[in-house]
């Protein structure tokens, strides 16, 4: 029996030649289709190449229609299992819900000059460190800077969300990674609202940059908004 690697779920349609050449095909069932490729025995390796290949398949297909992207590493043991999955009523609901949506990921990151800004109120500690750059005073100063940076982060994230909120269908805040990361947001918006989000971002940048830098990726398939809230069957 052939194992299938699941990229996601979509409606039945033509798969672009470029993806067909990579072995990607659809298992169809009454208006729903699993995007799959055949898989050898053994586990799926979470390499950079495999992760990016998964993203490439779902993002390419999402350009011309709804795709519910699967989590990386989702393996179906048979074609029947794919059909079983497609038969779930929740799959229909999700396909309908995301017919016209897309995900945008918005990350905020500070440049180093933010430390000068948040450290402006810490003059006594700064003077002390400059006069005597010991480890103890350095840690005290660094801790105070870290706290001030956390406040700044919370303030800026709230400001950004306040400005974008009217455009959002849903939101999943992520964990910003890195010392200078400000926020990491998954935004669900209508496909036709992407331009409006971009315009809003220009306004935000005019107000918050520097030191804040933005990175906006998308329109992506709704990676963060396709949880199936089903009870696990033992």
């Amino acid at each position: 029996m052939t194992r299938l690697y699941l990229y996601g779920i979509t409606h039945p349609r033509e798969v672009p030649q470029r993806l067909r050449d990579q072995g990607v095909f659809l298992v169809e069932d009454d208006g729903r289709a699993a995007i799959v490729s055949e898989l050898d025995e053994g586990p799926v390796e979470a390499t950079r190449r495999n992760l990016l290949a998964h993203a490439d398949v779902v993002e390419q297909l999402h350009e011309d229609g709804v795709v519910l992207p699967a989590r990386f590493g989702y393996v179906l043991e048979s074609r029947d299992e794919a059909l079983e999955l497609l038969g779930l009523p929740e799959v229909d609901e999700l396909l309908e819900r995301h017919e016209q949506t897309c995900e945008l990921t918005l990350r905020g990151k500070y440049e180093e000059s933010v430390l000068g800004e948040v450290g402006a109120g810490l003059q006594p500690l700064r003077d002390a460190y400059r006069a005597q750059p010991s480890v103890e005073i350095g840690i005290a100063l660094g801790e105070a800077v870290g706290e001030a940076l956390a406040d700044r982060r919370a303030r800026d994230e709230a400001f950004v969300l306040g400005a974008l909120r009217p455009l959002l269908l849903d939101l999943v805040p992520g964990n910003p990674a890195g010392e200078f990361a400000a926020f990491d947001l998954a935004l669900l918006v209508e496909r036709n609202a992407v331009k409006t989000v971009e315009a809003k971002l220009e306004e935000l940048a005019a107000r918050l940059s520097p030191p804040l830098h933005f990175k906006l990726v998308g329109p992506l398939p709704p990676y963060s908004f396709v949880r199936l809230a089903l009870p696990a069957v033992a």
Partner: protein, 140 residues
């Protein structure tokens, strides 16, 4: 694929273009169904561990302190109270140290998630040449 706008403060990418873009959304999110999913993966533990840089570390605090100090020195650049030579030297030292620490951290993370290995060799040329040139420039 990427372009900069608004005087360089907004990076815009229509699709995921690197591991950093996809890592969290592919591993933590996406369609999953407990009753059906066959988690059959290699390397996931390594990928998820240590990606979030811990901010509450002595190392981070000391770098923050040095950076604040350095930014402060730049602001009072015109002041004549500190001899020029001393100021220059301090600044350079702080910069070298900070850079080394940051890059060391990234290297450690990349090693952890196996990006430095031979399997995905298509992405690693840049890394190699950077560490080589770093070795030469520190030679004095």
């Amino acid at each position: 694929m990427q372009r900069e706008s608004s005087a360089g403060y907004i990076t815009r990418a229509p699709r995921s273009s690197g591991l950093a873009d996809v890592l969290e959304i592919l591993l933590d999110r996406g369609l999953v169904l407990d009753a059906y999913v066959r988690v059959s993966l290699v390397g996931i533990e390594l990928l998820t561990i240590d990606l979030r840089v811990v901010i509450a570390s002595v190392d981070t605090y000391l770098r923050f302190a040095e950076a604040v100090n350095r930014l402060d020195l730049r602001q009072v650049d015109d002041s004549k109270s500190v001899p020029d030579l001393f100021e220059k030297g301090g600044e350079e030292m702080a910069e070298t140290k900070t850079k080394g620490a940051v890059e060391g951290g990234m290297d450690a993370i990349k090693e952890k998630i196996g990006l430095g290995g031979g399997k995905d060799d298509d992405d690693d040329e840049e890394e190699g040449s950077r560490s080589r040139s770093r070795g030469r420039s520190n030679d004095r």
